[in-house]
């Protein structure tokens, strides 16, 4: 077994665009679920409108990359409003049903051949990088060290991703520790009580849905920045992976989603490297190498179950929250 390459591959994942994208999406979901109590099961849809909004704006309308990113963000605001207006007046479970359906409808709209010209159908969208790479402030060369060595394009993605992530964390932290955050946490606990205290609950829930949706869409854009947009990425299991990352770190925390996304991806990278290696070195003779690579999803599922049962508040969650199960 080549431990060197296993560990190096694992370490690389720590700062990958996927990790940053998940951290952003999980942070958006933390606003939805962790703080406002909105059961959004369609976070993949918000990431998809961000990514597609970005790619379509460049490929079809020839926007510069930053304007395209703004279009992606704007699209997520529209999506939040469309989903929120009919459902935010209802009980939380309905939002879950509508959002999961909404995300699937979006994915199928992106997938259908009827819109092939614009969405690329099953092939997805690619080759939209010119404007983004032209804006790269870093000259050609290699940056970083050890497993974290990048060319100038990868480095530009990394730096931009980190800046966006940092800003998003600061933004959410400020928001949550303000009277605004107090109101949405109150709504999570009991919206009728908050209504009785004179707060416009519908408006606050809508604001939370939009803000979380925008952060998730930024995650989708970061995911799309270095590579391509493919409809097979924005499936329901993406939503569940983001949920896993969120619950792992702690739903009602600001840094939990960040930590959860890192653990989720680093663990994925580690397992996808180590499991096939175990098979080829004869330690796990009962599965094939291909099966071993898929085994990680089974392990993620088992991990999520154990987590929800034994540490529902997540790694960074407040221990006291465990004591008071509603």
């Amino acid at each position: 077994m080549d431990w060197g390459s296993i560990l190096s591959n694992t370490a690389q994942q720590l700062l990958s665009p996927a990790t940053m994208a998940f951290a952003l999406a999980a942070l958006g979901l933390a606003i939805h679920f962790g703080f406002a109590g909105l059961l959004n099961m369609g976070i993949a849809g918000f990431m998809a409108v961000g990514a597609y909004g970005y790619a379509i704006s460049i490929l079809t309308f020839g926007f510069p990359w930053w304007a395209a990113a703004l279009v992606g963000i704007f699209a997520s605001v529209i999506l939040a409003i469309i989903m929120g207006i009919p459902t935010l007046r209802l009980r939380g479970d309905y939002l879950a049903i509508v959002t999961i359906a909404g995300a699937e409808i979006l994915r199928l709209l992106f997938l259908t051949t009827a819109n092939q010209e614009i969405t690329g159908s099953a092939d997805g969208l690619f080759g939209y990088h010119a404007s983004f790479r032209a804006a790269n402030p870093f000259p050609e060369g290699t940056y970083g060290f050890g497993p974290w060595t990048y060319n100038e394009v990868e480095f530009w993605v990394l730096i931009l991703g980190l800046i966006l992530l940092g800003l998003a964390v600061l933004f959410v932290w400020r928001l949550i520790n303000s009277p605004w955050g107090r109101v949405i946490k109150g709504i999570r606990e009991d919206e009728d009580a908050v209504r009785a205290l004179g707060k416009n609950v519908f408006s606050y829930k809508m604001q939370a849905l939009i803000i979380g949706g925008v952060i998730a869409a930024i995650g989708g854009i970061v995911y799309a920045l270095p590579s391509a947009v493919n409809p097979n990425v924005y499936v329901t299991s993406l939503t569940f992976f983001v949920w896993t990352a969120l619950l792992l770190g702690g739903a009602a925390t600001v840094f939990g989603p960040l930590l959860g996304a890192i653990i989720f991806w680093v663990l994925q990278a580690f397992l996808s490297n180590v499991l096939p290696a175990l098979v080829s070195s004869g330690i796990m003779p009962f599965v094939t190498a291909t099966q071993a690579a898929t085994l990680r999803y089974v392990l993620v599922g088992v991990g999520l179950v154990l987590l929800v049962v034994f540490r529902p508040q997540g790694i960074l969650g407040d221990k006291r929250e465990l004591t008071f199960v509603k």
Binding site: S178, P179, V183, G186, V194, R195, A196, G198, T323, F324
Partner: protein
């Protein structure tokens, strides 16, 4: 009990609230709420059917009636948590029919719930702060800049601590509300309601499930509200307490106002005894409901 019942008699009542002869729907000298022809039906069941009712200002009014009389439904209608099929009602002279709950709360009409709604995973102090009105920091954009709202937030915290001290919850300010006992949650909910400096406080069964010692202090708090110039409307089942603190009693049965008046008058009203207090205490309950044939006949 003898000492406490002596204490019960010592509360001074406000009188002379009505104009003309006492009857259901009688005019008040200074009503804070007037209700006209409010009708609410759930399927085939008429929950509330109030022709005319006025709630007097600055005093304590009790709303009593048997289970299912429509007390909580009337509460929900008045506070905007439910919408009537027909009817009009005013608060402070303004027509408030169809006004959403949060706007009514901003107008100075605040309520508590029969099943206490403490916000469990917020601390006691955060619960209190949430009650304050007109907070700059609750607006999305200004919430991002603490220097805009910090001063106001500190003032709110100071006011909250004052109230918590009065309700003997100040030692618990950093605990989650979920860690409070049922009675303490009732106190917290009431204290939180007072953070908004309301004109009218509506309490839905404030004494339900509260031990006798705490009941006494809750009663004192309610009497304090009146002393501070607030109007109190509360739902209660315990007639002892109603006659102790209420200046005016409204009796609902099957959604209608069957009687109203000062407590001592209402208690003697045959309609009230019939509908609520019970005229059949000495008769087998099965015989009263008619489900079981009387044995003696």
């Amino acid at each position: 009990m003898s000492s406490s019942s002596q204490k019960l008699q010592s509360v001074e009542k406000t009188t002379g609230l009505h104009v003309g002869e006492i009857e259901p729907g009688v005019k008040k000298v200074d009503p804070i709420i007037t209700i006209d022809k409010v009708h609410r039906q759930f399927g085939g069941l008429t929950a509330v059917d109030v022709d005319h009712l006025e709630i007097p200002r600055g005093v304590i009014t009790a709303l009593i009636g048997p289970n299912g009389a429509g007390k909580t439904t009337l509460f929900n209608l008045l506070t905007g948590f439910d919408k009537p099929d027909t009817g009009e009602w005013t608060f402070d002279g303004d027509n408030i029919a169809g006004v959403p709950a949060y706007k009514l709360a901003q107008k100075g009409q605040v309520r508590t719930f029969q099943l206490t709604k403490a916000l469990g995973l917020l601390t006691v102090l955060e619960n209190m702060k949430l009650g304050a009105k007109h907070q700059t920091g609750e607006r999305f954009l200004s919430s991002l800049f603490p220097f805009i709202w910090k001063k106001q937030d500190d003032e709110i915290a100071e006011k909250a601590m004052g109230l918590l001290k009065k309700f003997k919850l100040d030692a618990k300010k950093d605990d989650f509300a979920a860690s409070l006992s049922g009675g303490q949650r009732k106190l917290l909910e009431m204290a939180r309601a007072l953070m908004s400096d309301p004109e009218l406080v509506m309490l839905d069964e404030p004494m339900a499930g509260v031990n006798p010692a705490l009941t006494q202090s809750l009663l004192d708090h309610i009497l304090d509200l009146k002393k501070e110039g607030m109007t109190v409307l509360f739902v209660e089942h315990d007639m002892h307490m109603v006659s102790h603190i209420a200046d005016w009693v409204v009796v609902l049965a099957e959604g209608r106002v069957v009687a109203e008046g000062p407590p001592d008058v209402v208690m003697k009203n045959p309609a009230v005894i019939d509908a609520y207090l019970g005229s059949h205490q000495d008769v087998d309950l099965g015989a009263v409901t008619g489900r079981i044939p009387k044995v003696s006949e």
